[in-house]
């Protein structure tokens, strides 16, 4: 608690802890907004859609070396990294192969938004203390009912993202074939 004196000289008691929490929450929301704005999924969305989306996001925190999900387990949705780093691994012939090291603003697991409980194609592990935003299939489906326009926009962006990954995979495959020849 603290006492605040205004211009007229009258005083009022202010709960500084509450104000601090409120400020943190606002800052956190702004920060989340800024990071998600830079992802191809949630960029350039109207304010009303943002407010709707915020109610659907799940905030998760992971410790260093904590597994976010395992390869082969049913996938439910995608994650965006707000803070920290995530390693994407796959087990090939009993050996862990690192596919990618993701950082703030990167996203992963989006294939699970398309297919219901499709097995995860890789394992995701937090490399440092990590904060994530989770967006899951049940929420996407509910969005398609409540805000069809926004749902379709997100589905289109999801399709684009998958197409982009497919093109990249094809390029890698071609390079690999050329090297073998």
């Amino acid at each position: 608690m603290a006492t605040e004196v205004n211009e007229k000289g009258s005083t009022r008691v202010v709960n500084t802890e509450w104000l601090q929490m409120s400020d943190d929450s606002k800052r956190s929301r702004k920060e989340t907004h800024r990071i998600l704005e830079n992802t191809p999924f949630f960029t350039e969305l109207p304010k009303a859609d943002w407010r709707q989306l915020e109610t659907l996001f799940h905030h998760r925190q992971f410790e260093t070396n904590e597994t976010i999900f395992y390869e082969g387990t049913p996938g439910l949705g995608m994650y965006v990294i707000l803070d920290g780093k995530v390693r994407i691994l796959s087990n090939k012939n009993g050996r862990d192969v690192e596919y990618a090291l993701l950082e703030q603003g990167d996203f992963f697991g989006e294939l699970s938004l398309v297919e219901e409980e499709h097995p995860r194609s890789a394992t995701a592990v937090a490399v440092s203390p990590t904060r994530l935003i989770g967006f899951f299939r049940p929420q996407l489906l509910s969005l398609l009912h409540t805000r069809p326009k926004l749902g379709v926009v997100l589905m289109e962006r999801l399709a684009r993202s998958i197409a982009k990954r497919l093109r990249e995979s094809n390029k890698l495959l071609e390079q690999h074939e050329r090297l073998e020849d």
């Binding site: 009303a48 109610t55 799940h58 905030h59 998760r60 925190q61 992971f62 070396n65 904590e66 597994t67 976010i68 999900f69 395992y70 390869e71 387990t73 049913p74 996938g75 439910l76 949705g77 691994l89 087990n91 009993g94 050996r95 862990d96 409980e117 394992t123 592990v125 899951f136 049940p138 009912h145 409540t146 805000r147 069809p148």
Partner: protein, 375 residues
Amino acid sequence: MSDLKTDMATVAQQPVVRPIWRRLIVLLFSLLAAYLFFKAYNLISDIVTAVVISVVLTYVIRPLMLALERQYIPRVASILGIFAIITGLLILLITFIVPILVDEIQGLAMNLQQIDISTQLSKLRVWLDSKYSGLSTIIGIDPELWKQEGPTAELLNQLKGYMSNVLETSGNILSGAFNFVALAIVVPFLTFFMLRDGDSFAKRIIEKVPNRYFEMTLSLTHKVDNTMGDYLRGIFIESLIVGGLSWIFFQIMGLKFALVLGVVAGLLNMIQFFGPMLTYIPVLLVTALTYQPVWAGIFWAIVINLSVQALDNIVLKPVVISRSVNVHPVAVLLTVLVGGKLAGALGMFIAVPVYAIAHTVILDLYSHLKAYRVI
């Protein structure tokens, strides 16, 4: 990295462990929960009733609320708008239909007390004897017993007394329902908050779940929510159609107390398996006591009931119920019996959805625990 590798390899090699003690503990806990519920039910029955009605209303109103939200109408405004429409409909119902319903029920109760069943029965027997002299032999009843009035008439008189009591009680409940302040205040209050904050409340609870179980819990709650929503909305619409059709057909037939019988048919339809069978008792009793000629009345009442139930089983149930709850008929029968024993009519109504949810949770929980590598 190597830890993860070892962890994954160990999990992959783990055999499926299903120790019997774990099953016994689950069974014991289920029995204990059922026993405690049974013991505490009398103390909390009013609260349970209010919560059950609110949950049903929430699931029925929710799609309307979402449809309004789709038009960018704020949630609170949507809920208040729907509440206003429901209040309007209730006022219309209280003004026009409830008085008729209460009169019909009380009239029917008085009719039942005044009518001498044995006289009606004798008339029916004389008529049957004149038309089909060997009927008693065909249906396998001793001709001497057939001629005796005592046992059958006594049984029917008992049934008459029972029906009269039931109808008087329901008449009192209906006429006094809107004075039941607690229910009238608590149900809209609970429903409003379940509709407004249900999603965020569920989200806040799920966010407390540890990371290891998080996706599994989210998936399970989504499935339970879908099962429950589909079932409750389905049964509500189904009962409304069954009740409405029964009323229309009884009215066309010219049966007295058609509205009461329609409402009874609709309400009983909410009880799986037994409900449609129980409908025959009030319908046939009212027909036998008030319709002339009796045989034609009974014939048409049975035809109407059978037709409505056929329509329900062939068209409505597959569309509105089966897709939400896939429960074996024997399980439905036992569940409804147990529900009735534990919590009366309300227990019979909630037995099937509760069983379906428990079924989904237990089966899916086990497969999810395995799939998410928790066990």
